[in-house]
Amino acid sequence: MAARDQHGPQAPWGDAFQVVGKPHRKVDGMAKATGQAIYTDDIQLPGMLHAKLLRSPHAHANIVSIDTQKARAIPGVHAVITGADLPTRYGVIPWTMDETALAVDKVRFIGDPVAAVAAVDEDTANLALNAIEVEYELLHAYLDPREALERGEPTIHANKRGNNVSKQVDLAFGDVDEALESADLVVEGDYSFHGSTHGAIEPHCAVAQVDAQGLLTLWSSTQITHYVHRALAHVLDLPAHRIRVIQPSLGGAFGGKSDPFALEFVTAKMAQMTGRPVKMLWTREEVFYAHRGRHPMQMHYKTAADKDGKVRAVDAKILIDGGSYSSFGLVTTYYSGQLLTGPYAFPAYRFDSTRVFTNKPPCGPKRGHGSVQPRFAFEVQLDEVAEKLGIDPIEIRRRNYLGEHTQTVNGQRITSNGFLECLDKVERASAWKERHGKLPSGRGLGVAGSMYISGTNYPIYPNDMPQAGIQLKVDRSGLVMVFTGGNDIGQGSNSVVAYLVAEELGLELDAVRVIAADTDLCPVDLGAYSSRVTFMVGNAAIDAARKLRKLVVQALAEKWEVPEQRVRLVGGFAVDLEDPERHVPSREAFQLAEARFDTLGSTGSYNTPTLGGDYRGGTIGASPAYSFTAHIVEVEVDEETGRIRVPKVWCAHDCGRALNPMLVAGQIEGSVYMGIAEALLENHDMNRFGLHAGPSLLDYRMPTTIDTPEIEALIVESVDPEGPYGAKEAGEGPLHSAIPALSNAIFDACGIRLRHLPFTPAKVLAALREKRAREAADASVSTSTSSTPAV
């Protein structure tokens, strides 16, 4: 299969890259900057209705009855539906389909959708919502994951086991117990990670339309068009070929638009019922209820190490608060363990992760899905190991380096690995050697490392087809149109595809245009998640472009009567290398090829090689290539207020070849911003009633520009043998180690270890008080011992 074609990391025309590696503007940059870009909410169709959801005011309740009579009677109301109208369960993971578009029989969190109204305008729809009468029977609400683990009655989702466990994974590699017993040092501790949400600035929105032939078109602010397409077909019981899903310009996603959501089914259903287009735009509050953000985790870690700092074993037990539905939770539970096994080599590793349901907004994938939390716990613990052994924190990370072209303890194949260079870079840039441990009290530096996947070979639903496909169409004007199912969610995937095609075909960037994420026009791609797009869609793009290039080169070689090696496509021209006077614009080259072969076009695809450990779940987290990151964070701790200020963060990230260093730096900066944000300020917290403590951009404290540290993005390019021209991911990896590096910096600044997120000023002050009390106690012990006369 062409899908596994390996193109090699070299420039396609032998020597230097023409487009790749240079700081190009994003293809949609100007449209977004000038306001021309069309987002889903910009779509206005004739006769369009506006839909709203009635949501549950109770955290856990049975629905006894719903009366929509009065709502239907309101003038201007065109449709009112309830769970009975859309009863089919769905869920992004085929094994855990436990959601319905509108609640059927019971509600599971405050904000769970119960009914929907479509009306001539939003005000009428809201009025009608108020007229719907729902009778509830209240059930015990679980807000504490530990209680949900221990108590089975009532269950949030009925299951055979009669408990509230969503997923449990228990895997062990090597002899952990032996290492724990025989190692020179074991550090053990509890860590916790709180909830945080994505905070994409564009709220979720969908518009549905059914045309005269019965074709359903859905425009949606999704980051996975393909799964929405499948889910719509499933829930509406429609053949998929009668559905078209389009993702317009998207205002950020970060994982929060990966699941199929109620608004997509509801607008589609109501468009079918009314024959009119239907739009639903969520309020900011509703986005907080849709959530799918970072899972809170309670983590217990043990790390065994020898005196030389070599880690012998890691043992983890993790309780994951999943909120009310499964979402990607099966994968989260695996990721919480599977992704810790680099960039360090440990001979033995065990994890036992349990995800439970609670009556809170459902958690899901947020940038660094499932692995940011364990990474925090482990890297703080590793720092403690270094401290106890008197080894420099960077040095201990070097000593445990996993290496390249190797395997992790859980059977993941590692290809390129630039972690050592990442450490070197941040060490030098931050003047670590001169400054770590030597800054005045209250100021400090901390380091941490991490790794992340560039997509995985787990396709969510089992199938043998490619994971990414690309189609190219050539116009006689010289324009190459690229059709990709890949979702550009602001990360710049359309731009990357354009760069790669331009590079392969020797075109100027303005001769390539990209149409993406439209199921009618574009070949399937599995969507923007797990940092898979650059790697997989990029490889597919090269595959397609290379096939096309072959035809063009062949046509020219024949025409010029020279060997194919003499034909080069570069800068918008086809040139005879040995007689550069002989050249034609690409447009003419394409026309020649069209005349010679037929209408020009090509397809390309990518599929992962067989990867992963040979055990259940061994493929989850198995990636064709891993990115590596090191952070050094500098902090200033105000010991009177407990406030932590982060003046500077250095982040070195190994993204393989940087296809556009400016976009890579942007991803690094965004990741660091987000990591520091959730460590210090953001808290997706439910109050004692199960209500979100502050579902607004005022109360959910996302840092503003003036709260954002200065960030130095350092790019490490360990060109990967299988990535597109050697590229790997850059969108999620650079978040992970920012958070433990911050905790480790606080330790350097004032000798307190913060193991529980978020690092609020009150926690800092409490830890400082505890430290002073300990020091006072130690001092009195040592004075009393020294005053005891020797016997």
Partner: protein, 336 residues
């Protein structure tokens, strides 16, 4: 987006027109200044006016004037950004300029007015929420409900006065001019407040705050505003305090004052400040030493509650830290 309920908008171009409209429509009408608090509150269903009387077109309500006595007369409709940047305000009332410059963020300061800030509604995490949210909660005493979620069994709302300009205006001894159709009154800002968070101002229907008058400050006047908030912009105060130091011609404190908001429904004046600092020289060791017991006394007098976000115990601890720091910041002005 949350919907703004329907209302009628009147845009008079004279104060008389505005007063007449208010008189005519009674409790159905509310005054619209910059709208930065009123409109979000309407979206949340907290205020349900049928009519808004905009003051935006009334030129005489805008601008800062220096009075013949050397005081400041500030029109209620003066945007906070102008108050913060005005050279005379910065010189004569530094705490006010600082406070105005610390309200919300830049966009809100160019829309939000000083009058609107004085007239700002109290805030509470159980109240400043959408209708859906409050309905899920079962509402609260202040609006649509019967219980208070801050004080169990409480019979009176304790939502927090959160207007940043008020502590400064209070230490400056500001007075407020209110007008109703055919009537005007001027009261000391101290006299404005009730301790009921559901209605913390002694105002009468149909009144417009027209001017804020600040008496002349002496040559040795110093002032500063200290604001505790999570982020460097946007957030309402978790604690806001203004301090005042007037120095005699020897450079010794002859008058000192401190007022704090974001605690309870009304601003709180700290007792014993004047006595603690009288006769001391800012910047001296004595002055700094005197701040230690003063900070502790302030902490004892302030009891942050779970009405606004943020750990109450921490906020209380910060009263002491901010008292010291804000007086020191004011004292810094002495060396300029």
């Amino acid at each position: 987006m949350l919907r703004l309920p329907q209302f009628e908008l009147i845009e008079p171009s004279s104060l008389y027109g505005a007063l007449a409209a208010l008189a005519e429509h009674g409790p159905d009408a509310m005054v619209l200044a910059g709208g930065t608090d009123l409109l979000p509150n309407m979206k949340h269903g907290l205020f349900e006016p049928r009519m808004l009387v905009s003051l935006a077109g009334i030129e005489e309500l805008r601008g800062v004037q220096v009075t013949s006595e050397g005081g400041l007369s500030i029109g209620a409709m003066t945007p906070l950004a102008d108050v913060a940047d005005h050279p005379e305000v910065r010189r004569r009332a530094p705490a006010l300029a600082q406070a105005a410059g610390l309200v919300a963020g830049p966009q809100l300061r160019s829309m939000g007015t000083l009058g609107g800030n004085v007239m700002l509604d109290t805030r509470c995490q159980w109240y400043n929420q959408t209708h859906f949210w409050r309905q899920a909660l079962g509402f609260c005493l202040k609006k649509d409900g019967t219980v208070c979620h801050v004080v169990a069994g409480g019979k009176r709302c304790v939502a927090a006065a959160s207007n940043d300009s008020v502590p400064a205006l209070t230490t400056l001894g500001a007075s407020l001019r209110f007008e109703r159709l055919g009537q005007a009154r001027t009261i000391a800002i101290d006299e404005l407040w009730h301790s009921d968070g559901a209605n913390n101002k002694r105002t009468e229907g149909g009144e417009i705050l027209t001017r804020i008058e600040i008496p002349a400050t002496p040559a040795g006047h110093l002032g500063a505003y200290g604001k505790l908030r999570d982020r460097g912009s946007i957030d309402f105060p978790l604690l806001g305090m203004a301090v005042r130091l007037d120095l005699d011609d020897q450079g010794l404190v002859e008058h000192a004052d401190q007022v704090v908001v974001a605690l309870v429904a009304r601003p709180v004046r700290i007792k014993g400040v004047h006595e603690a600092l009288l006769g001391l020289r800012p910047g001296s060791a004595d002055f700094e030493q005197a701040l230690v017991p003063l900070a502790e006394a302030a902490r004892r007098q302030c009891r942050p509650m779970a009405n606004i976000p943020g750990d109450e115990d921490w906020r209380r601890e910060m009263v002491a830290v901010f008292t010291r720091r804000t007086f020191l910041a004011a004292a810094e002005g002495a060396s300029d």
